[in-house]
Amino acid sequence: MTSFPLLSIVLWLPALGALLLLLLPRNRDALYRQVGLMFTVATFVVSLGLLVSFSTPAGAAASAAAPPTMRLLEQLPWIPAWGVGYSIGLDGVSLWLVLLTTLLTPIAAWASWNSITTQVRYFQVLLLLLETALIGVFVSVDLFLFYIFWEFTLIPMALMIGIWGGANRMAAAMKFFLYTFAASLLMLLSIIGVYALHRSAIGATQPGFGGTFDLLRIVADLRSGAFALDGNLARLLFGGFLAAFAVKAPIWPFHSWLPDAYSEAPTPVVILLSAVMSKLGTYGLVRFNLTLFPEAAGWAAPAVAVLAVIGILYGAMVAYAQSDMKRLVAYSSLSHMGFVVLGIFALNGLGVSGAVLQMVNHGLTTAALFLIVGMLESRRGSRDLAAFGGLWQATPVLGGLTLLVVLSSAGLPGLNGFVGEFTIMQGAYSSPTLGWPFLAFAVLGVVLAVVYLLRMFRSAFMGDTLAETASLRDLNRQELAVLVLLCLPMVAIGLFPNLLLVSVEEGVAGVMRGILVAVASR
């Protein structure tokens, strides 16, 4: 607890930038770009301050029934009549996702300098609004507030796809919005359900209790036994949350919006869409499904894990068949998110920690991959694999960095992807609900990932140099800096995973306290 509202500053700084952008004079595209980049970078710098509060380890939890420990907690009444508060906080799970967001948004803003040439001002405004909404989802500890941010991410994202996207942009934007919105409504019903059940349960012993949407309070009551969520109703409510998160992540078979949205969105948008937006879903699974419904999570774990494994294999196989690089990376993303879901539903500390770590890893690598695809597309005017060949000769620096990213994505030891996937597989193997069959399929998935990623790398960068690609220029200084900025954390996490794992495990422990009890009692 601190009186300095650092988290609020991180949250609202981008929105402030958006407001400022609207007040600037007309027709100053360069200025809009600079202001947009400035605010996103400033947000990143400020967000580094969040790390300070994690420099000291949290004291041991008061009891096994304590809710997750939130740092930098800020709580203000917002709609007191309903028990809705503006309460935001940070734990080890959300910390790194917030940092991921604040790191990738400036990169997206930078990537927009070249690729977005029309209505520049409004693109920057939407980008900044989106950043606020994304951070808001990660830091909300109030169900109502969470839902508001969750839905609000949709509006800027759908507009950005629909206005600046490719030829088929309108259909892609509508599909994206409607899929996620429809599923979110089920979550809204579940939120209402949890609220109403909690209110009547606590109201029975404390007359005058008006209900609350405060996650910490509800979880505390759950763990202390004052409020119980079990039986079929709890499973239905669990399903409502799961639906929203499964579409967002996406989990197979709820992914059909993904290829369209990913391939139509312009590069800066697709970076945020794949690297951050998909994490909203898996983050939600950890934060809400596991915390609120430990019993139902144990019940549903095998089924969801099967879907995750199908997603891993399906994504990998479809990715292999793609000749469009953007679609290839899109499907590889589906495959990798399967790993994350598998780790979450391993339902043990190892699996969930690995999943959180892998979310960050996947964010970094996917962002880098889409950035590279965008660079190639802008140079060559095409993203078809057949249009490239032997790029290594023309662009050795780009080639080298691409190789690094591809290897990281494929899970080479020493890079970040390996740490995440290994931890997840370890978790799945030792899981109380899953077991070695899941591990076997996951390993198969890793093998397939190597196959399709290296295939892409080989056909683009190796082989005979095509006449058209021979003259492509290599990275300029800016591009190099950005790619290196993305690659540094990949190597760092791969070499020193404990940088993240310490705080992640602390956060996951807060989540798992309920699970361990529920699973042990099965």
């Binding site: 009549a81 629909g162 309108m170 509508m174 409504l185 019903l189 209110r199």
Partner: protein
């Protein structure tokens, strides 16, 4: 000769009502004698002033709980909140009509007093605690609306709409009267609930009965007929057939006015009837109403999908919204009443704004309401496009708009009232609805203009749209402002 005693009347209870009616009558004369032809907007300004005045008159009455005319009219916070909502609806409708009428060549000063009479009828419905008064309120409202619907008289569609509305409205009135007769036949009273000790009323009558002992057939049949009449007025499926044609044919400000006003007033009256007179019969009427609500939400929204004319689409969507409003009415609970009020205000602001945008797109002799006419609006009229986007998002129930909070409110009430399945139906239909609302947004922002449409903005219209959009956003971000008010409207529900 025997002295005629004039009964004591508590003027405070009827003060806002008298203000509106009196002002309207005076305005009629002023319009005829002092306002020159071609400058009828002066009448409009005066009418708006009258509504504002009535709102101010109502302000000191907040918190009172009194009745007059032998308990036929009551004044509680619920009625007052409704009064303000109706005054706001009337004022915004007049504001957006100021420029519309001359542009369409149908400017006549009587328009504004007629709107005021309709507003007074809606207020009467909100205050009535007596079936006869309720009937008169509905009739006054209906007759005013028949006239207003046919106000663009030489235009055939307007005439046809008025005719259709008149015929079906007459039917509904017949149902209502017959229903009242049957209710009176069983109970001997048409008073909803007692306002003084010893007064006979439906609630009293039902309170005395033990259900096994008494055959309630007459009362039930009568209530059923009254419900059918309300169904017509509110446009619940399956009594909604007239809605799309009438809404499309009527002059747009009138459509805006009745799509929110009629529904609100009729549902408020229904709420009083169900929640204060017949709560003990809830086990009987709840399944009926719940089914009606579910079908209404479903068919209203499904019907809207097929429309390419945005005005017609909004007509269908208003059917669906009646279903959501009904959720708040039928869960006999304080939360339900509050949710109903919140949703009504949110929906009113949003829908009035959306129709105001349609007015801007409506030129003399040609209405540019097809989806294609919205294409590329963002590039030509950013203000209109942004406002329309806010309204569409609010209608779809996307945060941070008032429409979202309203939906949240009524769904919460439905869940707590044991109607979780109905809330689920509401969620699913909202997802359906999102499709056609989003389609408008997509056209406006993501497409190039298809046809050359010149939207025209006037001061009045801009003001109306701005008020509506600002309200939609403010109540979406800071709903507490409104929730604190509606929380004080606790009806003595379920007594």
């Amino acid at each position: 000769m025997e002295q005629i005693q004039i009964p004591p009347v508590d003027l405070a209870v009827v003060a806002p009502l008298i203000t509106v009616v009196g002002w309207a009558i005076v305005l009629l004369l002023v319009d005829v004698f002092f306002v020159p032809a071609g400058q009828k907007r002066i009448t409009g300004y005066l009418g708006i002033a009258g509504l504002v005045m009535a709102g101010a008159v109502a302000a000191p009455l907040w918190g009172s709980d009194s009745s007059t005319f032998g308990g036929m009219l009551v004044l509680d916070n619920f009625a007052l909140a409704l009064t303000w909502i109706f005054l706001l609806i009337g004022a915004i409708s007049m504001v957006i009509a100021l420029d519309y009428l001359p542009r369409q060549g149908i400017e006549q000063g009587e328009f504004y007093p007629l709107i005021m009479f309709a507003v007074s009828a809606m207020m009467l419905l909100g205050q009535s605690a007596n079936l006869i008064v309720m009937f008169l309120g509905i009739e006054l409202l209906s007759i005013t609306l028949y006239i207003l619907t046919g106000f663009a008289y030489p235009r055939l569609s307007s005439e046809e709409a008025a005719m259709k509305y008149l015929l079906l409205g007459a039917f509904a009135a017949g149902f209502f009267v017959y229903g009242i007769a049957l209710i009176y036949g069983q109970t001997g009273t048409v008073q909803l609930f007692s306002t003084a000790p010893g007064q006979e009323s439906l609630a009293e009558y039902l309170g005395r009965q033990t259900f096994a002992a008494v055959d309630l057939t007459l009362l039930l049949v009568g209530s059923g007929l009254v419900l059918v009449a309300f169904g017509f007025k509110v446009a619940l499926v399956p009594f909604h057939m007239w809605t799309p044609d009438v809404y499309e044919g009527a002059p747009t400000p009138v459509t805006a006015f009745m799509s929110v006003g009629t529904k609100g007033a009729a549902l408020a009256a229904l709420l009083r009837l169900l929640d204060m007179a017949l709560p003990s019969l809830q086990p009987i009427w709840l399944p009926v109403l719940a089914t009606l609500a579910a079908v209404t939400m479903l068919l209203g929204n499904l019907g809207a999908i097929a429309q390419s004319n945005v005005k017609r689409m909004l007509a269908y969507s208003s059917i669906g919204h009646a279903g959501y409003l009904l959720l708040g009415v039928m869960t006999v609970s304080e939360r339900g009443v509050q949710g109903f009020l919140f949703y009504l205000l949110a929906y009113s602001l949003t829908n009035l704004g959306a129709f105001a945008v349609l007015i801007a797109l409506e030129q003399r002799g040609e209405a540019a309401w097809s989806l294609d006419d919205f294409a590329g609006l963002w590039q030509r009229q950013p203000f209109l496009a942004l406002a329309m986007a806010v309204f569409m998002l609010s209608l779809a129930g996307v945060p941070p708009t008032a429409g979202f909070v309203g939906k949240f409110y009524v769904f919460m009430a439905a869940w707590e009232g044991g109607l979780g399945w109905l809330a689920l139906v509401g969620m699913l239909t909202s997802a359906i609805a999102a499709f056609f609302y989003l389609r408008v947004i997509a056209r406006m922002f993501m497409q190039e203009p298809v046809r050359d449409v010149q939207p025209q903005l006037f001061r009045g219209l801009t003001l109306g749209i701005s008020i509506a959009a600002a309200g939609t956003l403010i109540f979406g971000i800071l709903p507490t402002l409104l929730i604190n008010v509606v929380q004080q409207t606790a009806l003595a529900v379920g007594r």
